[in-house]
């Protein structure tokens, strides 16, 4: 079983629209949405939830005011300034390090496990899907990314599927790092803008760090062909395989508004033809 992770560095380059298109083209696959912070793939996939689980991770300190003697030890030790003058823990600032819990001489600090999201196994018209929702303002998104990818792999293996298509998060930080380890290949979806290029360079460097074979496609290529070519040239220099170009095509937005992918919405559109072409090259590349 192979896993292809689609990332972008910069947000909004069209990752999810392209993954949704691939869902129509790939055979024997499961889908995974690892952009747990702002998951959107389900808006096209329209999943029917088969299983729903709580995601429990990390702890938050709570001070029992009846036991607290306001000795100040916890406030002195807390490096997050998460404990107020009147000894109330701010759950947003609390890092969950447990130092106050450990050192409180009155055992006045409780340190319960957090439920910080949910994850799901679902059925879609394209096959099974593992996806998740991190609670708003919650931490541990990297751990949820790791978990949902593991569940995606288990799901694909249990149903004897050859491929896991994973929609990754933007950026280069903890959730992206969690989405790269152990992937068979990474596809970077870039855009021909100064920011698309800047961000692609950083995320390509990160992928190289993890020694994952990396590929590239440039979306909305015709917005600035010179910039697009510069991105492709950079990719070749860094041994990132250039798969193709997707034109700026309003059909992607129109498809999304109807809850469809580009292949379902308009198989003859320029955007669809480009996505098909990239998918064929991608399939050949991972077979080798």
């Amino acid at each position: 079983m192979k896993e292809i992770v689609i990332i972008s560095g910069k947000g909004g380059t069209g990752k999810t629209s392209i993954v949704a298109g691939f869902a129509s083209l790939a055979e024997n696959k499961a889908l995974c949405d690892a952009d747990v912070d702002a998951a959107d793939l389900h808006l096209i996939m329209d999943p029917e939830i088969r299983e729903c689980h709580d995601f429990e991770s990390g702890h938050t300190a709570i001070i029992d005011q009846k036991k607290c003697t306001q000795c100040g030890i916890c406030r002195d030790l807390c490096r997050w300034d998460a404990i107020s003058d009147d000894y109330v823990v701010d759950p947003i600032e609390c890092e969950g390090c447990g130092v106050c819990y450990y050192f409180c001489p009155e055992e006045a600090v409780d340190f319960p496990l957090n439920t910080c999201g949910e994850w799901y196994i679902s059925d879609t018209r394209f096959g099974p899907m593992a996806h998740a929702r991190l609670g708003i303002a919650e931490e541990n998104s990297g751990k949820l990314v790791t978990l949902i990818r593991q569940e995606g792999k288990k799901l694909a293996e249990a149903e004897d599927l050859d491929l896991l298509l994973t929609d990754g998060p933007p950026g280069i930080g903890c959730p992206v790092i969690a989405s790269l380890g152990g992937a068979s290949a990474v596809l970077i979806v870039s855009e021909p803008t100064v920011s698309g290029r800047h961000d692609m360079e950083r995320v390509a460097e990160l992928a190289a760090f993890f020694r994952v074979p990396t590929m590239l496609c440039v979306n909305k290529f015709d917005l600035n062909p010179d910039q697009g070519e510069a991105i492709e040239a950079f990719a070749r220099e860094k041994n990132v395989k250039v798969l193709g170009r997707v034109p700026f095509d309003p059909a992607f937005t129109r498809a999304m508004v109807q809850g469809k992918n580009i292949v379902e919405f308009d198989g003859g559109s320029e955007g669809c033809r480009a996505v098909k072409d990239i998918w064929e090259k991608l399939t050949r590349a991972i077979e080798n």
Binding site: G9, K10, G11, G12, T13, T16, D37, A38, D40, L43, G58, H59, L77, R79, I92, E95, G96, C97, G98, V99, Y102, F103, L134, I136, A137, E138, E139, S141, G142, P169, P170, G171, I172, G173, C174, P175, V176, I177, E191, P192, T193, V194, S195, G196, H198, D199, R202, V203, E205, L206, F209, K220, L223, N224, Q227, F248, P250, T253, M256, V257
Partner: protein, 284 residues
């Protein structure tokens, strides 16, 4: 006043709004780019950088001469960042959250701290705009401490514009907390709306007044507008899709440079924000 510009969904135009608002405002204005994973504001502001600082976070180092292998450091660590293995203690610096628990708990005082590089903070100027951004080291997972460092450069009295990262988890909270106003930039698509709802949820948790910019306002449907009306989130600006804007952006040019007539619209946006903030202050 601190205005944090956020979105939920990536690529909706946060940086465009942040940089054009700053340039339109003209003087006594700062941009703090807190999207430290993928900072982009500098590509448009093109500041002359005159200060570069390497930012580190404390991580443990163990003096094995003093260590008795008692294992208390491993017990207190919630992040599995320090463990006793056989006759030695292994700190895993990349997992460490810098809480200092192991240093504090060690009965032999065998643990001291050294630094792990988080990234850099660069500061500079251009055309009266003070510019600060963080650049997370590639391979570093934790962005909030670097974001907090960037935010220490907010100058009271100036207009401080924060370019926040996408999403709604800890880096976004670190970029919004303590702001006087959060300006949410969205697009009128199902993805834009879905992620906008999450972003509004985050702003409500933090109890900060917010307003909306709808970018590419003519590409999609009217569900974002209906949502904004229902939730009482004021729409302060709409930017229709214009290929000239998209192309100028692709080259690193700002709207107000390419199309100076937009300057007044960005100033109107600022006045709209001022009004919302003043109303909230009156209510309180």
């Amino acid at each position: 006043m601190i205005i944090s510009i956020a979105s939920g969904k990536g690529g909706t135009g946060k940086t465009t709004v942040a940089t054009n608002l700053a340039l339109s405002f003209g003087s006594d204005v700062q941009i703090l780019d807190c999207d430290v994973e993928e900072p982009n504001s500098h590509l448009f502001i093109r500041p002359v950088i005159d200060e570069v600082e390497t930012i580190t976070t404390p991580v443990p180092q163990v003096d094995m001469e003093k260590c008795t292998l008692c294992g208390k450091c491993g017990d207190i660590c919630q992040f599995k960042a320090i463990v006793v293995i056989g006759e030695t203690v292994l700190p895993f610096h990349e997992l460490c959250h810098s809480c200092g628990g192991c240093v504090e708990v060690c009965p032999e005082k065998a643990i001291t701290e050294t630094g792990r590089e988080l990234g850099i903070v660069e500061r500079g100027k251009r055309n009266g705009i003070e510019f600060v951004h963080g650049r997370l080291r590639v391979g570093e997972a934790m962005s909030p401490p670097l974001i907090k460092k960037v935010r220490t450069y907010a100058r009271p009295g100036a207009l401080t514009i924060i370019d926040a990262p996408p999403g709604t988890s800890c880096p976004v909270i670190a970029s919004m907390r303590g702001a006087d106003f959060v300006l949410l930039v969205t697009e009128p698509t199902p993805f834009g709306l879905h992620d906008l709802k999450l972003a509004v949820g985050a702003v409500r948790i933090l109890k900060i007044p917010c307003g909306l910019v709808i970018n590419r306002s003519d590409m999609g449907d009217d569900r974002v507008r209906r949502y904004a009306e229902g939730e009482d989130v004021p729409v302060l600006m709409e930017i229709p899709f214009d290929r000239r804007i998209a192309e100028a952006y692709s080259r690193g040019e700002m709207i107000v440079e390419t199309m100076p007539e937009w300057k007044d619209r960005f100033l109107d946006l600022y006045h709209g924000i001022e009004e919302v903030v003043a109303e909230k202050e009156q209510v309180q």
